[in-house]
């Protein structure tokens, strides 16, 4: 096949538009497509609705003022439980929020992937997830039980960003870590999925066991970006662990006056090549120890 989906990160992010609803794969500080997130930080994009099992992706986008609305269940960096820039944005009331149970969130992505308007769930009933969200409605079983569920609305995405261990140029991807999380559902829920990849192949041909690491079909992938160390400073199993030193410095920057601007000037605005050099290069990243939970 001669067609290719390969683009640079800048070209890929240039496909996005102000006001879009953008899903971000990974979980907390695990396998986040940070190279793509940094490219958004460098772009003029604004007024985004971000849909994420949030980690520093959400924090940075909040810090840079890119977020109009956050659809989420949590934001955390695990070892640093509270994400400082998310907290600032949330506490200043400058972002709109839609807060869901982790499982409801999955259910919303799944509904979108099935092109359905909602899926019912018990999760969220009798809590403020329901009471504080005017968008949410309930639905009663049409059978004798008559049980009332939350009708979790589809979380339809204009775009999804996902970082994978390996991909080829037409969007066949492999996730080699212990857990796919919900990246497959982000891809299904989205009409435009941008994959960044640690390793880029021309064309994947693998054995059967390896093929099982393919978590979503290539027709779900519109764009492939080659981004080695592209999940840094988050954890990409089995390639590299969290960069705790970096996350600590990032976390500390939030306590300084103008801290975000300093962080952005040092690590983001310099471009991805300089970023990687500043964090110690691929050699140091590849040696970051895998976390023990």
């Amino acid at each position: 096949m001669t067609f290719t989906k390969q683009k640079t990160a800048a070209e890929a992010i240039a496909e996005l538009r102000d006001g879009m609803t953008i899903g971000i794969g990974g979980w907390g500080p695990r396998r986040k497509p940070m190279a793509l997130v940094r490219e958004i930080l460098r772009s003029p994009l604004r007024d985004l609705t971000i849909v994420s099992y949030g980690g520093p992706d959400v924090g940075m986008l909040c810090a840079a003022g890119k977020v109009k609305k956050l659809i989420f269940a949590f934001v955390t960096m695990d070892a640093i439980p509270l994400e400082p820039y998310y907290r600032k944005a949330r506490e200043s009331g400058t972002i709109q929020i839609e807060e869901y149970d982790e499982g409801m969130f999955e259910w919303g992505l799944r509904a979108a992937g099935m092109r359905m308007s909602f899926l019912p769930t018990r999760c969220g009933l009798a809590t403020d997830v329901l009471a504080k969200n005017p968008r949410l409605k309930t639905i009663a079983s049409p059978y004798d039980d008559g049980e009332v569920y939350v009708a979790m609305p589809a979380l339809k995405l204009d775009a999804a960003l996902i970082h994978v261990n390996e991909s080829d140029k037409i969007g066949n991807t492999l996730l080699r870590g212990h857990d796919v999380f919900f990246d497959n559902l982000f891809a299904r829920a989205s009409s435009h999925t941008i994959v960044s990849t640690e390793v880029l192949h021309d064309r994947l041909t693998v054995d059967a066991e390896t093929a099982k690491q393919n978590a979503f079909e290539r027709y779900l992938v519109q764009t492939v970006v080659h981004a080695p160390c592209g999940a840094h400073p988050t954890y990409l199993g089995p390639n590299y662990g969290l960069d705790m030193d970096h996350l600590k410095a990032y976390n500390a920057s939030a306590s300084e006056e103008g801290g975000w601007q300093k962080y952005a000037d040092e690590f983001v605005n310099v471009g991805e090549e300089a970023y990687l050099a500043k964090v110690g290069g691929a050699e140091r990243v590849s040696k970051l120890k895998l976390p023990v939970y």
Partner: protein, 265 residues
């Protein structure tokens, strides 16, 4: 073990809540709950399922912190996050987490603190899995600093986990699977087994009085009949705790790592 620390006492108390649960997933989140679940599995309830806190089921609880180079986890199965949700929805789990606030109805908050949800005084984690956990399976809680900021006078600021407040439950909503067991704090063990699910103190940690607990709690408490002391870890339990936590991470949870037996005031 009269020289046990308060953290060790709390671990031992936590482990009791997983007794006679049958075969289900025991999820203790953060150091003390995790050690409590691990201790339960290593002693009275080997049938419990447990993960490596990442993605696999292990037949032997994984120790906390950095491990010897030759440590090999004993994997017996798989438990990716989507499987955890399926487990939750199926009800085969007893989790213990540390919420930011708990109210008299057993409702919990992990999202944000303050009267204005749109502009909270303090943003915490978000509701995480609390809504789904609390309505689907057994839950217990852990409170490292028992005070009226945690055990609030009114309703928690953002109800993340369901409780027994009738007004929160609309017609047709299924309450049958919600089941709050205990709250293990640095002062006592509580449950919601009083009349109409009122909060009760079911054991006091050594040297703590009921009045102290009540003063640190924003809502009225009941003492159970013959209110006794929380049991100290036995020598066997203590040895297992040490093995499960070789770097003494439990010693960093409570301020000053106090002893289990509170010195007289």
């Amino acid at each position: 073990m009269s020289d046990a620390t308060l953290a060790e006492l709390m671990i031992t108390a936590a482990s009791e809540t997983w007794r006679n649960n049958g075969e289900l997933l025991a999820s203790g989140i953060t150091t003390i709950p995790r050690l409590g679940a691990s201790l339960a599995k290593m002693t009275h309830s080997p049938e419990l399922l447990m993960t490596d806190s990442e993605a696999y089921l292990v037949s032997e609880p994984a120790p906390l912190g950095p491990r010897a180079a030759d440590y090999v986890p004993k994997f017996e199965g798989y438990m990716s996050f989507d499987r955890v949700f399926e487990c939750v929805w199926g009800g085969k789990r007893h989790a213990m987490i540390g919420p930011t606030q708990i109210d008299r109805w057993g409702q919990t908050n992990l999202s944000c603190v303050g009267p204005d949800y749109a502009k909270p005084k303090s943003a915490v984690l978000g509701v995480r899995g609390l809504p789904g956990n609390s309505i689907n399976h057994i839950n217990s809680f852990f409170v490292p600093a028992h005070n009226t900021r945690v055990f609030v006078a009114g309703e928690v600021d953002m109800v993340s986990g369901v409780g027994y407040k009738a007004e929160r439950w609309g017609a047709g909503m299924k309450r049958d699977y919600a089941d709050i067991r205990v709250v293990v704090t640095d002062l006592c063990v509580l449950d919601f087994g009083g009349p109409d699910h009122a909060a009760r103190v079911i054991s006091l940690h050594p040297g703590v009085t009921f009045e102290q607990v009540q003063a640190a709690t924003g809502f009225p408490l009941i003492a159970i009949d013959n209110l006794g002391e929380t049991a100290l870890p036995t020598a066997e339990q203590f040895a297992i705790i040490r093995k499960l936590d070789p770097h003494n991470m439990r010693g960093m949870v409570l301020k000053g790592n106090p002893p289990a037996i509170k010195a007289a005031a």
